[in-house]
Symmetry: C2
Amino acid sequence: MTNAESADLSAKHALLEAAQRLFAANGFEKVSMRVLTQEAGVNLAAVNYHFGSKEGLIEAVVESYINPVNELRLQRLTDAEAEGTPGVETILDCFLRPVLESVRSSALSEKLFFQMMGRCMNDRGLGNLPATSIALFEKVTTRYPVALQRICPQLKLEEILWRLHFTVGALIHVLIHTEGLRIVSRGKIGNPSVEGILTMVKSYCSAGIQAPPNEL
Amino acid sequence: MTNAESADLSAKHALLEAAQRLFAANGFEKVSMRVLTQEAGVNLAAVNYHFGSKEGLIEAVVESYINPVNELRLQRLTDAEAEGTPGVETILDCFLRPVLESVRSSALSEKLFFQMMGRCMNDRGLGNLPATSIALFEKVTTRYPVALQRICPQLKLEEILWRLHFTVGALIHVLIHTEGLRIVSRGKIGNPSVEGILTMVKSYCSAGIQAPPNEL
DNA sequence: GTCTATAAAGTGATAGAC
DNA sequence: GTCTATCACTTTATAGAC
């Protein structure tokens, strides 16, 4: 590796690292490239050199968060289906757990990581995600409903899609707003572990998905 | 009413009306006071005269959306409890329906209204809402769990709070992201009426809230 | 690849005339 | 209450030297 390449990688890496931290804590809009480059210890112009624009940097960060999660979701579902016909709880585990596991491959603290993940899924709006992320999302929102319908044949695909929609909402809300709720509720929600929260989300969403079908 | 008061009210009203429309469509951050005042047909300085600052205008709009909903939530629960012990579905109806009904007392289109409501609950983060809104939220998040525990005595209050947290997440997600999903899913979610969506949310969340309790 | 310097445009807020 | 003019500052992006 030449010096130039090494410098390139370290500057690029420093930008990505600072971007993750600052975007997670403050949101994409509120972080200026001046503050970000200062925090990263690189020059202001480096953002445009390495990522083309602020938007390019945002997309790089979003992809680095969302894509591994969705790839893991597909892999886990494939694994589960190889072992038989997974139940609703198992399918939900395949869907939800990758979010928790990605936290370990991140340099961010747990709280910041979850906020970042929530922001990626929320602030950008699904429609204007990077193309690679949209493609993965489409695979996920195609395969999971099929898996669910296999063991919930009483539900129309349409209603499964809606119930997965509600499930995603519960997940994102927990990721983004649980810290705030902890403060506002003055401790009334207790202090469950991440695994404990996952258990509660799974039992709630599993029951919701298996609710009696509605007339559509 | 004097001319001055009339002029005051109409300028203030025009600002609020434009703020609702623009904030709903573009978010609080992205709307500049220059664009907003131009849209409202008033002078740039009017924002600071009538609301003190951009932040003051935002808070006025947020209050005007959130507070009526939470007041209605409290009223509906009071009414339901006057007629006996409401079930989970009834309690959820008291909680969710006020969001839909407020749409009719708004000048906004249905889509914009729902986005605005979602933004009020989401973008600001619960912690930094106006004081009156926080007080109402605290009443709601005190009374509803009590009502739920009355008919779900097998659940600890702590778990009820978490399940209400998930419910709010599903609601907000539907408000903000359903239009986007409609596009991305290429019509696969069908075209249910607002009342139809409410029915689906209620049955999902009702089943989720009544799921078997977890070890905490 | 990295830097400085700067362009070009935007922001919220306010003093002061009317 | 409403207006103009302007302040003081921030933003992203880029040209050009090194």
